[in-house]
Every structure is written in structure tokens, then in C-alpha cells.
């Protein structure tokens, strides 16, 4: 795949559900109950169970990896600006898209957009990949 500054990269959709939250909790070791226990999440003022911010970032990391392989990812950063709410028995769609930023010395900056239910969930999400 070739990259040009300003190029818009095609969006991809990732499904997030309660089973994936459990799977991520087990894989990452982050067993915070706000990501698994609806009653607990509501008791601390959340609307429902929310996804781990780092799960959203891991999925955006997969989007970055798919551009030129996992081994090409050099930098990746994001702010968690809105929670991804995950109701029971529902697949929530996370839509990731990106634009190619500056390219220099064989490294492309990637500006990532992550949207869930028409709301941006990651802020200033950026990657750098070797191309």
C-alpha cells in the first residue's frame, strides 16, 4: 500500500459487545467492574457498562496495524473523550477512519478518527507507521 499526505483511508467497523469486554478484561488484566457489571457501573453514575478506553484504543491499533503490519507501528496516542456505552445483548459499532498526515524519512503520521453512535470517542488520536 502506498501513502500520500492528505489521503483519506477507508473506514472500518469494529463490533463491541459485553463478551468482547470480558475477553479484553481477561487478556489485559483490567478487571475494573465498570466494564463488566451493570449494577456497579450505574452505582458510580455511569449510564451502563462502558468499554475500556484501552479496548477502543486496541481496536484503533488494529486499524493502524492493518495499514502496514503490526511491526510497522512506531507511535500511537489518544485522549479518551467520551465513553463507549455497551448495553447488554447489543453489538455497538465503533467506526475507525484515518487520514495520512506528514510523511518524512519513511515514516507516515496517521490521524485517526474513532466514532461510536455519531460521537467521537477518541480525541487527537495519532499514529506513526514505518512505510
Amino acid at each position: 500500500m502506498s501513502f500520500v499526505t492528505g489521503q483519506e483511508l477507508a473506514p472500518k467497523t469494529y463490533k463491541i459487545n459485553r463478551a468482547l469486554l470480558k475477553q479484553y478484561a481477561d487478556a489485559s488484566g483490567d478487571q475494573n467492574p465498570i466494564h463488566q457489571d451493570e449494577a456497579f457501573a450505574k452505582s458510580v453514575g455511569l449510564p451502563d457498562v462502558i468499554a475500556h478506553g484501552m479496548l477502543t484504543m486496541a481496536l484503533a491499533g488494529k486499524y493502524l496495524s492493518d495499514l502496514n503490519g503490526s511491526q510497522s507501528v512506531l507511535e500511537f496516542s489518544a485522549k479518551f473523550i467520551k465513553p463507549v456505552v455497551v448495553p447488554a445483548n447489543k453489538d455497538v459499532e465503533l467506526i475507525i477512519s484515518a487520514k495520512v498526515g506528514e510523511i518524512a524519512d519513511g515514516i507516515a503520521k496517521i490521524e485517526i478518527t474513532a466514532v461510536c453512535e455519531d460521537v467521537k470517542v477518541l480525541g487527537v488520536a495519532k499514529g506513526a507507521i514505518r512505510i
Binding site: A27, S28, M54, K62, S70, F76, K79, F80
Partner: protein, 127 residues
């Protein structure tokens, strides 16, 4: 509240973490990654977050009210199975805004003397 004397100090994790192929496979499966020869880009959080949590709890932060504000990774080389990684964490900044405590922690993962991944986590303790 955090003890201000802790800001800028570096804490070395007691034990090295040996990265297993199974741990890479499990993390990759969550995101649908089929390349299992290297760890996915955010895999290191499974090592660094636990260490940051311990450091900050020991430092007096109320972990039950922590939310993740920002995260950054600089990957010098991908993590692979068999890596024995030691984690050193530094509280880089701490401030209080509108009653929320905002802490930035840098964690470096080394394999022997080689820096493999640096991560920065900004954590917010809600008022």
C-alpha cells in the same frame, strides 16, 4: 492526595514479566489480529497499567475513582514472546483541577538494557 515528594521519582518494578505466546495470542484475539509473531501495538498496557496502579495506590491515590484520560506509546521494537521485560515508572506530573487530580505516569519497558517500549498514561482521579 498524592505526596508531592513522589513527583519525578522513578520506581522500578520488582519482577520482570516474561511475555508468553499465549498472552500475545489472547490480546491479538480480542482485536482480530492474525499476525501472532509480534504483540499488537497496545499490548504493553497489560504490563504497565498494573505497575502504575500499584505505584499510585501505594502513593495514596484512590484507584476506585480513577479514569483513563490519555495514553501514548512509543514502540522502539515490537514486543515478542520470550521477552523478559522490566518496568520502571516515573510520576512525571501531578496537578489538581476543579477538584480532580490529574497524574501523568511514564513507564519504560526494558529487555536487559534495551528500551523496548515507552508509555505515558494520564489518569484522572474524579472529585
Amino acid at each position: 492526595m498524592l505526596d508531592p515528594d513522589l513527583i519525578g521519582r522513578t520506581f522500578n518494578g520488582a519482577n520482570a514479566t516474561t511475555v508468553t505466546q499465549e498472552s500475545i495470542n489472547n490480546f491479538a484475539a480480542v482485536v482480530g489480529e492474525s499476525n501472532l509473531t509480534v504483540a499488537p501495538p497496545t499490548f504493553s498496557i497489560s504490563i504497565t497499567l498494573e505497575q502504575s496502579q500499584k505505584l499510585l495506590q501505594d502513593s495514596g491515590l484512590d484507584w476506585t475513582r480513577v479514569v483513563h484520560g490519555e495514553q501514548k506509546f512509543e514502540i522502539k521494537r515490537p514486543i515478542v514472546a520470550g521477552d523478559e521485560l522490566t518496568c520502571s515508572s516515573t510520576i512525571e506530573s501531578y496537578r489538581v483541577a476543579a477538584g480532580n487530580e490529574i497524574v501523568s505516569v511514564r513507564s519504560d519497558l526494558h529487555s536487559n538494557d534495551e528500551l523496548v517500549v515507552s508509555t505515558w498514561s494520564t489518569l484522572v482521579v474524579r472529585a
